[in-house]
Symmetry: C2
Subunit: 464 residues, 2 copies
């Protein structure tokens, strides 16, 4: 009975100009409500929906109305229907000026009658539920039933925006002459010293999951690719159950040779971030506003050029705000956040670079500041007061690297291959790694990184 | 002595129009040769190089010539030099019409005097070395010293082209309305049944490395993203030591809901492949020719529209060529290759789709052919006679999926989460996964997949 030569229309294309056309549509049954001799359906495709009507008459029997009324929510249906304009706007739908008068309806895929969560509950702002006695859905229930949760307008918006971040990152760097590389995730030695690394059984031996692509990016620089980037999973076996830690996340990584000063690297990275922020602001406004409906936040602010503070300036700001900390002490998470607020007040930006970290708090491969041995040519970048990138000029001289590793009491045997990479001529270079999920979370002003990871992994969650 | 305000020029920009300009350049010392009161250097940046000269005279002392002559190969130097046109073309360099007359030279990074391999040996075609008594470099030596091997013109070309494949893949799909997704690599249950999977220690429990992102792609389809793609590592614990197997490779994955027929999926994938082939042909001709110099091959041929053969036709062609095999038997690797040759002879294409595989040889989630229960709505795609993609329409009905799993004697408990994904309405959908390294290897007519993986992983290689 169902002809296979029909073009299926899109819900968002159903506008008054299509009035009185007979169309075919495939959509989910968002809601269905029988009312006397009629059945009102709301049909949904992604974030778009419209009202549809089956009414007893020439083309529909009582049985058909009953059939339509019994279709379970979230089922997928094909309908043949006339597009009709409506006299009164349908405020609850994205298509407010038309409705469908259904001639025929087929169930393509039937949903089980009991859903583990209701979409309308899953997008309700936290406060609203409590105040008005309506349900919200807790995060574990959402994640346990991600297949349904992904259908919400909020999830659709978050992950479309995430897709946009990746595209903007790559397009900007490609335009700047960077080459995309693919780095291995299974490695023979723990890349950053051995702590917090997952072990893999590898045939008759053991291997590890890469904690960062840094060594491989650096090998590509030593291999004359000059400017490289990669996008891929990064693994951290940290037993951190916080709002901002995942055991597996997506790293947006950059590494580049520079001519004279590592600030060339900082400039390339901040340029890229600014391009991402502008691209999101200009091309993802619908998504941002959709997320804001459920999770209100201030628009993300940034400066051009990007604000760059030195570590000593940051410590002075914190001192002035009453914080007691040493000049060469690392920033604690609360101080990081406080600093973010102080910077926002003083400079009105949600994005800034903190440059010249104390050498003592950075990894052994960090280039010391040639002018002051207590500091280093290294930097972090922050969004809304939280770290999204850590980076540095790397030591590119095998002898200095050996000295630095000795100073850190690192077993030279274990990093021999790494050090040897610099024995055959290596240009001065630097880079950094950005956490994709953090960028999305902080740009959107969300408060939990599990909201911006489709299938998050933490010490307690391995499914779905 | 070294001023930090100079602009460094690029070797490829040094052309006769720049004659008599005083420039600064950073480059590697490709070769260096003293000859009386002069020292001839070849300076290199990536695939570009030019001749440079230090001669005793007004600006250079005898000591400076000696210093230049002693700079080790592969060291990185900064030179201040005049660009001069030459009377006779310098055939051995990419910049044939100019040379540099060096005024000052600084060593930025010194290479150790003994290199583990010579770049000129590493790019010599296999035959040439043997015939003329010159060295070639075996693959393990190249891979063990990848930092140096990546500097060769061949490696630079291969990995730039690989970067292009990824970009073309994503750009084409983004244009077609696909959304990029990020899928987890650490999973709680083996995605394809448990064989050939790497085990990871995960805090107090065990986990696995994903053998494909398929389940997650399908969950995104059930989550209403409609068309998704992802690019990321795929892990296979197969103890296969062949020219075309890696234990970790990069998967280019596609999944999409379709309207009426799974051939819509095939068409989207072949469209994408054709766009990649055209993009490489049109934008990467220099890279292709560079690789061809060392590894000669015929240009890659493809048809528009892409040739689609049914499995039964392929079996008939093989029967006709004298092969004995059953109608429902899977293709052996030699038969796959033979079929590739037969197809090339008959249709003059290096790329084709083989459609409607016997149901018995495909995984349990493959949709049976509704018209013939012995066959299935599944397909492989081939380049130069080797498989690069395997795909299918997936069963999207929980009950049918349960029946098919039972038929394959799969433990339902282990795939419960997978089957449950389809209980809340799932559209008809299909997809496939492409191996990036295979696409690059076969497009370029190479014979070993380790050539198109920067840091290959196989049962015997975990380093560098």
């Amino acid at each position: 009975a169902h002809s296979f030569s029909q073009v299926l229309v899109r819900v968002q294309d159903l506008i008054p100009e299509k009035a009185d056309q007979l169309i075919w549509l495939r959509a989910r049954v968002h809601t269905s409500r029988a009312k006397g001799k009629q059945c009102f359906l709301v049909l949904r495709q992604q974030q778009f929906n419209l009202q549809a009507l089956v009414a007893v008459g020439d083309r529909a029997s009582k049985q058909m109305v009953k059939f339509a009324a019994n279709i379970t929510k979230e089922s997928i249906v094909d309908v043949e229907a006339f597009v009709r304009t409506v006299e009164q706007k349908i405020e609850s739908c994205s298509q407010q000026d038309v409705e469908l008068h259904i001639e025929r309806i087929f169930v393509i895929s039937q949903a089980e009658p009991r859903l583990p969560l209701q979409l309308e509950d899953a997008v309700r702002p936290d406060g609203d539920g409590e105040e008005e006695g309506r349900a919200t859905v807790n995060q574990d229930t959402k994640l346990d039933n991600r297949v349904i949760d992904l259908r919400t307008t909020t999830s659709q918006a978050i992950f479309r925006l995430q897709s946009g971040v990746c595209q903007l990152f790559r397009d900007t760097l490609t335009e700047k002459g960077f080459v995309e590389i693919q780095t291995p995730k299974i490695i023979s030695a723990a890349s950053e010293g051995g702590a917090n690394v997952f072990t893999v059984s590898y045939f008759k031996t053991s291997a590890y999951l890469a904690q960062s692509p840094q060594l491989y990016k650096q090998m590509c620089i030593c291999g004359d690719f000059e400017k490289v980037f990669c996008v891929g999973p990064v693994f951290r076996a940290e037993d951190s159950n916080t709002h901002r830690h995942l055991t597996e996340f997506v790293g947006l990584d950059i590494e580049m040779a520079f001519s004279y000063h590592y600030h060339e690297v900082i400039d390339s990275i901040t340029d890229t971030m600014v391009r991402i922020f502008k691209g999101l602001r200009d091309n993802f406004q619908t998504e941002i506003q959709t997320v804001n409906k459920q999770f209100p936040s201030e628009p993300f602010k940034f400066l051009e050029p990007t604000l760059r503070l030195e570590y000593t300036e940051a410590v002075a700001m914190l001192h002035e705000a009453g914080v007691e900390m040493g000049d060469e002490e690392d920033l604690s998470t609360p101080n990081e956040k406080l600093l973010g607020r102080l910077v926002k007040e003083k400079y009105d930006t949600d994005f800034y670079v903190l440059d010249k970290y104390p050498l003592a708090v950075r990894p052994f491969y960090t280039m010391p500041d040639p002018n002051n041995p207590k500091y280093s040519n290294s930097y972090d970048m922050f969004m809304r007061g939280e770290e999204i990138l850590s980076g540095a000029q790397r030591v590119h001289d095998a002898q200095l690297l050996t000295d630095r590793a000795n100073h850190h009491q690192i077993d030279l045997e274990k990093i021999k291959a790494y050090i040897d990479s610099f024995r055959y001529g290596a240009p001065p270079h630097g880079g950094g790694g950005i956490g994709l999920e953090r960028v999305c979370m902080l740009y959107l002003g969300l408060h939990n990184i599990r909201q911006t990871s489709m299938f998050p992994r933490d010490p307690k969650r391995l499914t779905p």
